[in-house]
Amino acid sequence: MSVSISREVARRVFASEFNIATHTFKESDDERAPNYILLPTGIHANRVFIVGTLTQLDNIGNDSEWWHGRISDPTGIFHIYSGQYQPNSTSVLRKLDPPAYVAVTGKPNIYSRDDEGLSISIRPESVTEVDSLTRDRWVAETAIQTLERISSFKENPTQYVEDAKKHYGEDPTIHHDTALLALESLMEPL
């Protein structure tokens, strides 16, 4: 076993797929082992990288800052929450005015709502303002990587795929269609 802890890759995933992820797991009993969410297209994620339009930003904290941001991509809305323990992203959010294109690297966070349901959000490690070209590049990259995950979902099912079928259903067609629609949205005239 290697002793060095390798950095977790930041998955590319659209909001429509990310938001229905509810299953979390660890790959070892070690307390410090990374937490993963299982994505419906059959891959595990400890970190995500998203780019979209910040459409709403509120400081919902009482005593200390606690920022909630809504970030829109062609398929839905990501929610991010950032407070005093995310000083880098909080200091950026404090100065941002929606609408703005933003890139977010962060950790998926699943929590129970008051009505007992589960919600998923992103706890950012970094937030930066970017331009529309970066957004387009991310949409294209995320569409391609989503389609590739679906392709191996069907042709080369891993244990993650088997688990995804159990938790989210056997048919990933909706994510396939959404990815293509997201790509086509880039071609619409402004």
Binding site: V9, S91, A103, V130, L133, D136, R137, I144, L147
Partner: protein, 312 residues
């Protein structure tokens, strides 16, 4: 030369593995024989190994050359640990002046995957390697210092000239992805100026030389992530300035005004993170040392991406 216990244990294990078909003794016994020679009789390690091999493997006895037993033949770019016994097909790229009488020849050897330093000891009595010569080197051992690998030719090494002309690769790699993190120790940093140390100071102190004044430098240690793989990259002063438009004196002025070098890092993080870059450079330990870095700012070709998408 100080040889610690771990080295002897490692050598004993290597010897045991290499001679498993002829040695009748176990690792512990090999280690004990080595220790007697090295610690009891102050025999150099290389000679101690030779002695142990001779004593325990009869077929080596009268032979001064090594074995036909084949090592894995690998490429320079595949070398990833020290103490590996390997065969390499290389071209002599450069010969340097030996810095000591114990070194017969030292220089740079290369293959398609990159170049590596080699050392040939005087006491090994090996034939001379010619500049630009192509050779098969059998039975050389890898070594590592400061994250950089080298190879040592030794008494058991066989040098065979080759007819072919080996093409030398520069070991350079090109990657594309989003910059998802810039690590501490980036931005405006100070380096130790004692001798040619250049270590990065932590809180004004060098790990080797203690508290020193140091000299300012700019660099970035970042993480490029393409959604599938992560790459740790290091950008030097020139590349950092090229990407940020901030040169060393700008950075010093910013730090002076804020009375904090951290403002430079914060500014660079906000400028660079979350965007896509193409980085070209060479692998060094786990890092990619950038020669060139470029923001991917052209609009994407949606038509060709749609064609690609529909074919998946």
């Amino acid at each position: 030369m100080v040889i610690n216990m771990i080295d002897l244990r490692k050598k004993a294990e290597e010897l045991h593995d290499r001679h498993s078909d002829t040695f009748q003794i176990e690792v512990d016994e090999i280690e004990s024989q080595l220790r007697t020679l090295v610690e009891g009789y102050s025999v150099p390690l290389e000679e101690a190994i030779r002695s142990v091999v001779n004593r325990n493997a009869p077929e080596y006895k009268s032979s001064t050359t090594a074995t036909d037993k084949s090592n894995s033949q690998i490429k320079i770019g595949d070398i990833n640990s020290s103490g590996q016994w390997i065969d390499l097909q290389i071209k002599i790229v450069d010969l340097w002046d030996p810095t000591s009488d114990s070194i017969d020849q030292v220089g740079l050897a290369g293959d398609e995957t990159g170049t590596i330093k080699f050392t040939k000891w005087s006491k090994s009595n090996l034939p001379t390697l010619e500049a630009n010569g192509n050779y098969l080197l059998k039975n050389v051992v890898t070594d590592e210092w400061g994250g950089r690998f080298s190879i040592k030719l030794n008494r058991t090494t066989i040098i065979e000239p080759l007819d072919q002309d080996i093409e030398i690769g520069d070991g350079s790699t090109s990657i594309e992805g989003a910059l998802v993190d810039i690590q501490s120790g980036s931005g405006l940093i100070k380096r130790c100026t004692v001798d040619s140390c250049t270590r990065v100071l932590q809180n004004g102190a060098c790990a080797e030389h203690g508290e020193v004044d140091g000299k300012y430098d700019l660099r970035l240690k970042g993480v490029i992530d393409d959604g599938i793989n992560v790459f740790e990259v290091i950008l030097n002063e020139q590349t950092t300035e090229f990407l940020t438009g901030i040169n060393l004196s700008d950075a010093e002025a910013m730090a002076t005004e804020a009375v904090d070098t951290g403002v430079v890092l914060t500014k660079m993080r906000n400028m660079l993170l979350g965007k896509y870059y193409k980085i070209q450079g060479s692998k060094f330990s786990r890092y990619l040392i950038a020669n060139e870095a470029q923001l991917l700012s052209d609009p994407i070709d949606t038509d060709s991406i749609l064609i690609q998408a529909r074919s998946i």
